[in-house]
């Protein structure tokens, strides 16, 4: 019994648009240090273990093809999966949206008269904010993944798909455990040090009593096999196995895109996922289960097939490739933007490059400034596409979404961007116009630039310069230099003193 004790869950509600949130994050040097260390460590490991496989590129192609087959035949595979699951003794539920999924979970928990559940880390349940709904219904949810536990006890938000508490260092974790564990169960030892091994030990003791008494568990799944009705959970700590094995009732909330057609397809994904995610040849534990196994594990098994706007993504011809995503987080670890600002600035359970495309598609463009800012949270460098194990062309989708965002705001009146671009085309269309402007710029920017860069400019240009430093133009344009020196043949020193440092960058 939870004795009525539970933890209030924080939500992403109220996170400001990306440029504002990013600015705050960039000012936090501790956060930047943590993120730099984490992303570089994992990306190095990933590069090493993917290079070990000579057929890595062929595996990526197969992974993408299998997932495209699922999106192309989603209806057929969903019906087949439902049949396989039912035959294996599982109860299949369908949920159109978050509220419906949450109600199904709450209904099952209430039927079993429990006031607590143990939970495996899962992106889908984070997306539907299951914990908040359960708390409102008076049911405590105990996160059992170490990082999720740190986030939950710290009344905090996850900042990475794979290692959600990566923004915390050991002394912060110790402080959270000392302060919070006793409020909701077995307290941390008074002499707890900040050694990671000791902190993990404290989590083991704290959660063990919850595992041993829990009657109901909630999980997600990494894969659902349509032809056998098998669900797969890939993990490291064993908290997943605890939840999938010890309780009497198991409820799995799974996005409909998690389907793979056949058992054989796992030979591809069980190579792609661990190597892309933690940079290991294989993760410590992978569990598969097919409905109910008499005498082994939960004897009542539920699977909730979640849409929650995945079918909207499916309808987007360019964007639907995002449904291939296996949530490995390799794109986060190589992203120069994510590395510097961390996960919270994205204002979503899905941060980084994949979040910048998934969140706007799942929640819709044109409804919130915060969401609309996400497709612009990228330099389009393409590193995410290169590492993606299922070859999602994230830059392509980002550009597509930028078009949708801009289009949704225009409503007939040309926006600033369009006006600016039209002006640019007029200027660049005639050499003499450009020459005049460059002369003016060379003069005027002496007022604006500092240390060779132009910082904040007044509106409407501020929309560009708020988030970017712009190199200051040199004092003399190339056209003027060419004219003055006769193409370099007669160069007697530069014309207007030293040029801004900007032109050397």
């Amino acid at each position: 019994m939870s004795d009525g004790r539970m933890i209030e869950t924080k939500t992403f509600l109220g996170i400001p648009p990306f440029p504002v949130a990013a600015k705050e994050a960039l000012a936090d040097s501790q956060l930047r240090g943590n993120m730099h260390h984490a992303t570089h460590t994992i990306r190095t490991k990933r590069a090493r273990v993917t290079a070990e496989l000579p057929d890595w590129e062929q595996l990526r192609v197969a992974g993408a093809d299998i997932k495209d087959d699922v999106t192309a035949n989603m209806g057929r595979y969903l019906v087949q999966l439902e049949e396989s699951l039912t035959k294996a003794g599982a109860n299949v539920h369908w949920a159109r949206d978050a509220a419906e999924a949450n109600q199904i979970v709450i209904g099952i928990a209430r039927r079993h008269k429990v006031d607590e559940v143990v939970k495996v880390k899962s992106m889908a349940t984070g997306e539907i904010e299951l914990n908040v709904a359960m708390e409102k219904a008076g049911i405590a949810v105990w996160e059992t993944d170490l990082a999720e536990l740190i986030v939950q006890l710290g009344h905090d938000l996850p900042s990475h798909i794979l290692v959600p508490a990566i923004h915390r260092n050991r002394s912060e974790v110790r402080e959270i455990f000392m302060r919070e564990m006793g409020k909701v169960g077995m307290p941390a030892a008074a002499d707890l040090s900040d050694e990671p091994a000791e902190l993990a030990g404290a989590a083991r003791r704290h959660l063990r009593e919850k595992f041993l008494r829990a009657k109901v568990a909630v999980s997600g799944a990494n894969f659902m096999v349509a032809d056998t009705g098998t669900l797969v959970v890939v993990e490291s700590e064993g908290n997943g196995r605890m939840c999938l094995t010890l309780p009497e009732v198991l409820i799995s909330v799974v996005g409909i895109e998690k389907i793979v057609p056949t058992w054989k397809d796992l030979e591809v994904f069980l190579q792609l996922l661990p190597r892309s995610a933690t940079g290991e040849r294989m993760n410590p534990y992978t569990s598969t289960w097919t409905g109910v196994t008499p005498g082994d594990g939960p004897q009542e098994v539920h699977v909730i097939l979640l849409d929650n706007n995945r079918t909207k993504v499916l309808a987007d011809e360019v964007g639907r490739q995002a449904l291939r995503c296996i949530r490995c987080s390799a794109c986060l670890n190589v992203c120069p933007v994510y590395e510097r600002v961390g996960g919270h600035a994205y204002g979503s359970i899905y941060p980084g490059p994949i979040g910048a495309i998934l969140t706007p598609m799942l929640k819709g463009v044109g409804v919130s400034k915060q969401i609309d800012s996400l497709p612009f949270a990228s330099s389009l460098c393409g590193a995410c596409y290169e590492v993606c194990p299922v070859r999602i062309n994230i830059p392509e989708v980002l550009v597509h979404l930028r078009e949708l965002v801009v289009g949704s705001h225009r409503g007939g009146v040309p926006g600033t961007l369009m006006t600016t671009m039209k002006g640019a085309s007029w200027l660049l269309g005639g050499g003499w116009r450009l020459g005049l402007l460059q002369k003016a710029a060379g003069l005027s920017t002496r007022v604006l630039w500092k240390n060779g860069v132009i910082g904040r400019m007044p509106p409407p240009m501020s929309r560009w310069t708020d988030a970017r430093d712009c190199p200051a133009p040199p004092t003399e344009s190339f056209r003027a230099w060419w004219k003055r020196t006769d193409g370099g043949r007669n160069d007697a020193g530069s014309a207007g003193g030293t040029a801004g440092k900007g032109d050397q960058r």
């Binding site: 495209d68 294989m282 569990s287």
Partner: protein, 208 residues
């Protein structure tokens, strides 16, 4: 409209065109290793698990060494009794042990269905000699006996061999080293919730 019908209708309305090519499976289905057993041992040890190699006559002694003084040991039904060393207090799962009972046991001794060389993984399909899933989860030490002829090359071969178990509705547990986490500052810590120690006893096959 019911949720099921509405979701299926939305999928249909998304109107996804069929793919213009079949799934390309040009990756390796089998892998040629000079020494699969050697690779398996090296990769298991990479996870900080220990491996003891022995001839068929030395299994009980290798198990005794691996148990490292643990006295109360769960041994599932169907496990080869000649592999159980003397002096071990064998705990049976009959009648079924409660989770709390299991929590009081020091170690668990099982076999496995196969091992994967390239990834250093052992797989249990929870048939004879392997016990139900909770047995290899709650105790802090897992000793697993595997024979060399059970080792396959890479993941595709394993997935193929495990297909009958899955078709029969059996659960699987893939184990690659002891329970681990890198959740705090990316520092690897062993044994969060699963067994903190994994020891593999690898028995020479008569044919090799």
């Amino acid at each position: 409209m019911k949720a099921r019908e509405e979701i299926l209708r939305r999928v249909q309305e998304a109107n996804v065109a069929p793919n213009d090519h079949p799934i390309r499976r040009d990756y390796a289905q089998t892998v040629k290793l000079a020494d699969p057993v050697g690779t398996f041992v090296e990769r298991v040890e990479d996870y900080q698990a220990t491996v003891i190699r022995t001839g068929p006559g030395g299994v009980a002694a290798a198990v005794a060494k691996s148990l490292d003084g643990a006295r109360r040991v769960v041994v599932p039904a169907g496990f080869n009794t000649s592999w159980v060393p003397d002096g071990v207090d064998v705990v049976l799962d009959e009648p079924v042990l409660s989770s709390a009972d299991l929590n009081e046991v020091e170690a668990v001794l099982t076999s496995a269905v196969l091992g994967i060389a390239v990834t250093g993984t052992i797989v249990l399909d929870h048939t004879e000699g392997q016990g139900r899933r909770a047995l290899t989860l709650v105790p802090d030490l897992h000793v697993c006996v595997l024979t060399e002829d059970q080792i396959v090359g890479d993941v595709p071969e394993a997935v193929g061999r495990l297909s009958p178990s899955v078709d029969a509705g059996r659960p699987l547990t893939w184990v690659s080293g002891p329970s681990a986490t890198v959740d705090i500052e990316l520092i690897r810590v062993h044994g969060v919730h699963g067994p903190r120690t994994l020891r593999v006893v690898l028995v020479e096959s008569p044919t090799t």
